[in-house]
Amino acid sequence: MEKASARVPLYSRLVVALPAGLFVWFASMVPSVAGGEAQFASIGWLPQLGVDLAFHVDGLGLLFALLITGVGTFILLYASEYMRGHPQVGRFTAFLVAFMLSMLGVVLSDNLIVLFVFWELTTLTSFLLIGYSHGDSAARRAALQSLIVTGAGALAMLAGFVLLGNAAGSYSLREMLAGDSDLAGHPAYVAMLVLVLAGAFTKSAQFPFHFWLPNAMAAPTPVSAYLHSATMVKAGVFLLARLNPVLGGTDEWGMTLTGFGAFTAVYSAAVALTRTDLKQILAYTTLMALGVCVMFIGLPQSRGADEVPLGAVAAVAFVFVHALYKAPLFMVAGTIDHSAGTRDIRSLGGLRKAMPWSLLAAALAALSMSGVPPFAGFVGKEILYSSAIGSTYGVAATAAIVTANAMIVSAALLVVAVPFLGQSPATRPTPHEGRWPMWIGSLVLGVAALGAGLFPRLAFEWLLLPAAGAVAGRQPHFEASLWHGFNLPFALSVVTLSAGALAYWQRNRLTGALGSALARLPVTGDSAYDWLMNGIARVSVVHTRIVQCGIQRRYLLIVFATLGASVLTTLVVKGVIAWPARIPDVSFVEWLLAILIAASALVTIRSHSRLMAIVALGVVGTGIALIFLLHGASDVAMTQLMVETLVVVIVAMVLLKLPGFRREVRQTGLGRWRDAIVSCVVGLTTTLVLLAVTAEPSHRRLTEYFQKTAVPEGFGANVVNVILVDFRGLDTLGEISVLALAAVSAYTLINWRPRRSARAAARSKAFPEAEGAAKPETLS
């Protein structure tokens, strides 16, 4: 894979300047945003429907924007080295940058529909990036899976947004937040909630939609580090945080978020311990982190409303802490993969000598992840604990978060201690440190985690509290500090660390137990997904085999049956079956003709001889012509007679030339009765409609006008002729065209030599299936 000698394309280094520049730009906004001045810019997009390209930089948006651009800078730098010598680096880099911009769009949009647009763009770019190794079927499957799962959620979310917009009267988040519309009391509140949560939970991979995220690790490591850990998967968390002041505060909101989040956190932390692939372990710890964020956004605080909204502070702080440690760990995992050739912790060990810088970066990140003082992770964890203790679900929430965190401590040890400090396996090729772009980013982020832990007040006042304020809907008064004294959260921290270390020590026994427990689960999300996709494929095949069966006769039958059934039903429902008020005088000759026509029609159907059938059909036509004649329409009658004669003659000639149809199947038994019923119903309904129409008063306005104006203005004594060539000349032009077209088509069809041109033959030799690709449906 890696070609160390390959050149790094210049653009992939230069492109780093884009996120770096954006980071500086956003950083320059920090003072004003922290001071409560949000930036806002808007241009119309589809103003008629209230969709404006409106962007809004407040505390929450700014925190995410800084994470996206800050982590993005290092990821792009890392990727430029990581992808050295890989094919399609240009496309890869372009998608990565496109993703970054889309993600910025998500977190800065003020308009829900615009947010959705960017949301879907992140889905698309994620799809393209997961499928980078497109020769690998697992990568293709993972790409499709992420698209389907998050795409399904997004569609539900779109419906939710429409409901939300209709209820609030605007798609603008600012207006929703400012307005006093009581969405929680809206009759569609639960529907909105479910739909929006569907979008957020799928994107942020909450149980039971979590399975796509570990599979998405098929992407190159820079993508996993960036999209599927630090940024994109946080979009769901971001959305929940964003909408918390709008939709939150209800029991439904609190219970759902806390429940799903807590379960996801504990479940995936447990699964993380059973994995042996570094990226898989990290993916599951990411799931845990997402679960924690979701849980704390929803976690209802039991203390009075005027107290500090600790849940919001905890969630925001954890987002920040997680981004600072998870991206470095992923990048280190990628570096290990690069230099040691594997990511399986069972075959890794002793890398400390060969990769000192990576070790340093990984250690910093892992310490923060474990929540060891004085890292940011410790500060974050303390807030999580005090928030959980103070919540309405006090004991349960605390138990869940402590359990999950303890397992995360073991996971951190697994990820760092095993590869770097463990025994080095003998059979490995000599590992080597990656070039500087591969560890500098991890190191800087690790140091940042340390810095934020040492100076928590700085991080909180400038970044986290403004963000938490946006989540809570009011500015929290919160004093952040590294050391809170010996209190319950600190005790829990100690418990967490010791439990985590204990679990690491006993990891073989623990993973065995966990593994067998997990294997006993009847359904996994992944298998449910497969079942559903296969189900859709199978249903579609069966469904299509039934409706598009390839038998022309059945198509005709269905079309006629539809016609008969729908018209008859309407006739009955609308009660318009009516006999004409006056029974028209039907002469003896007319009765005779009617009987003749009916009898010939019967002969046509019953006859086994084609010639007989076509002659009988001719009699039907002639009979109708005679009826026209009896009613004085001699022009029409003449036309009809000529047409009938020609049809009989031509069809008879063709039939004589035709060979007997092979494989012709005649209906027998029930099929024949079914056909008879359908045709009778169609005939009957047509008759009934006709009778009903003739019962209505007739209109002679057009006729009178034509009769009156034909001679003086149309200059023709024959009214029919004047109608044809003048009043309705355009129709005649069309009909003439029809004849000419039919003639041209017939001419070319007859003269078409069924031999292939030289070129077509050559092509079909090159690609033998090219001609056969379009097989006819069997005609019967």
């Binding site: 008629q48 399904a152 209709n166 249903v539 085999r545 022309q552 079309v559 209109h699």
Partner: protein
């Protein structure tokens, strides 16, 4: 004004005659064909400009006063559709230069193509329901001719199926027109709008409306009348199937939109409810059909059916926003769907097959083609910021505004399945490695690169433009929808302002659309 409105019929009809006589003169025929395509485009632009500035424009053919003579009418809907038709025609002509042989019988394509365009434009512009029928016939015969260009067995088989089922529709349409004439004594559609309000037997009018649903339903390939489409669209030359996919069924949809806003609005609770159900079933059955297929053109053909459902849905909602969404969807669909067929042709040319199992590796070997497939495919699947997203969004919003949640949910779910089958193509044709036994992909020659890909690039650019700069397109669709909801302007343009005063505005829909 008469010539302007008649232009989109006169230009292609004349072109059909001239190119017909030029069969066998390869180069000159192509040149004339191309020039006619450009002329049609110019005429269409002029017509739309005129309608945009002056409102509904009518032309009384032969100067006979309506409703006695035949009227051609261009409102915003007609003018927009004529313009899209011209764009597709132009793209098809360019594409055909590489797709169709230069000499020989295949050059019959040009006269037939122009005749088809005359039929399509005629149908869009007809202000007389019998005249509409005539243009349907022109389309039918021209399309049968086009279907057999190339003369393979599969094409003959397809043309028999197509012809038989289409003829039923045509006959049925004629029956419906006859009955309607018997009931009202007029054929002029604006006049019909007034006359049907005088009909006392409203139930009978509803019965006739149902006959029209079935007749136009076959034409627009709705459930359960769509069989002819998947049975035929994958067989002809790529140029032909692209034109068919873009335009033919949409004329049926247009006709439904026209008559079910202008004429049959007496029993919306019944007729439009039927249409709503039809729309839902059409969406689902089409997308399932597409999911079951493994050949590019067959997949795309079934998607046409599915998307007809969305357009009908807009009409069935019968609110300003619903109709707007339906119209927007129609325009978006024509561009995207024709483009996908063009791309499918290019894939077959360069990749050697149109069956997914035999394709692969095009992402690596033909990145431009990959990009050109990606845009229309994901637009079709409704991903932003492409035209399909807005089309879908408008319809979802419209249905939710009037609390039709079931159809909104169906539309969203079908959208997901559409994405599924587009990604199926993407994964198999582009990402998957080439099958062992397949020939290596063939780099396009310069001529192929230009003639096959230029139309694709152009149409993809339009898709992007609609997606990114949606407002003017929305406004156009909005005007068109307003005219459909309130036919007074249409009627006034045809019959004179005096006629309108007698008729009130058409009854309001089941609910307004809020902004």
């Amino acid at each position: 004004m008469t010539w302007l409105v008649a232009g989109p019929i006169v230009v292609p009809l004349s072109a059909a005659v001239v190119t017909g006589f030029l069969m066998g003169y390869g180069g000159i025929q192509r040149l004339v064909s191309l020039c006619s395509g450009i002329a049609l485009f110019g005429t269409a632009v002029a017509l739309l400009t005129n309608v945009w500035n002056e409102g509904v424009t009518a032309a009384q053919i032969g100067n006979w006063p309506s409703p006695f003579g035949i009227t051609l009418v261009a409102d915003h809907l007609s003018a927009v559709l004529v313009l899209i038709t011209a764009i597709i025609a132009l793209a098809a002509i360019v594409y055909s230069f590489e797709d169709i042989e230069r000499r020989g019988l295949a050059t019959v394509l040009h006269p037939l193509l122009h005749a088809l365009m005359a039929g399509v434009c005629g149908a869009f512009l007809a202000g007389d329901i019998f005249n509409l029928y005539v243009w349907f016939e022109v389309m039918l015969i021209a399309s049968i001719g086009l279907l057999v260009v190339g003369g393979t067995r599969a094409q003959l088989d397809a043309s028999v199926r197509y012809a038989a089922l289409s003829l039923i529709a045509t006959t049925l349409l004629l029956t419906g027109i006859g009955l309607l004439y018997g009931l009202t004594g007029t054929l002029n559609m604006a006049d019909l709008h007034l006359r049907v309000q005088e009909v006392e037997n409203e139930g009978l009018l509803t019965v006739i409306a149902v006959i029209f649903i079935v007749a136009f339903g076959i034409k627009s390939a709705v459930f359960p009348l769509f069989f002819w489409l998947p049975a035929s669209y994958h067989t002809p030359k790529v140029t032909v199937s692209a034109v068919f996919s873009g335009l033919l069924t949409k004329v049926g949809v247009y006709a439904l939109m026209r008559v079910f806003t202008l004429i049959f609005t007496n029993d919306i609770g019944y007729t439009h409810e039927i249409l709503l159900w039809v729309a839902g079933f059409t969406m689902v059955t089409g997308v399932l059909g597409a999911a079951s297929r493994n050949d590019l053109r067959r997949i795309l053909s079934f998607h046409i059916v599915s998307q007809i459902g969305y357009m009908i849905m807009g009409l069935a909602l019968y609110t300003p926003l619903g109709l707007l969404g339906g119209i927007f969807y129609t325009v978006h669909h024509i561009i995207v769907k024709a483009n996908l067929f063009f791309v499918a042709g290019a894939i077959r040319r360069f990749g050697g097959s149109s069956r997914l199992a035999r394709l692969g590796g095009l992402y690596r070997d033909a990145p431009l083609l990959a990009a050109l497939f990606f845009i229309p495919a994901f637009s079709l699947a409704g991903f932003p910021p492409l035209s399909g997203f807005w089309a879908k969004f408008l319809l979802i919003r419209a249905s939710m505004d009037v609390h039709e949640y079931a159809i909104a949910a169906t539309a969203l779910a079908v959208g997901l399945l559409t994405a599924y089958s587009m990604t199926k193509i993407w994964l198999n044709a582009f990402w998957k490695g080439r099958p062992e036994d397949a020939m290596p992909t063939r780099p396009p020659s310069r001529s192929e690169g230009f003639f096959l890909l230029a139309p694709v690039v152009g149409l993809a650019a339009i898709t992007l433009a609609i997606g990114l700069y949606v407002q003017p397109f929305y406004e156009l669709a909005e005007r068109a929808a307003q005219e459909l909801m309130h036919p007074a302007e249409y009627v006034g343009a045809v019959l004179g302002e005096d006629a309108v005063s007698g008729a009130g505005p058409s009854p309001a829909g089941p609910g307004g659309s809020g902004n």
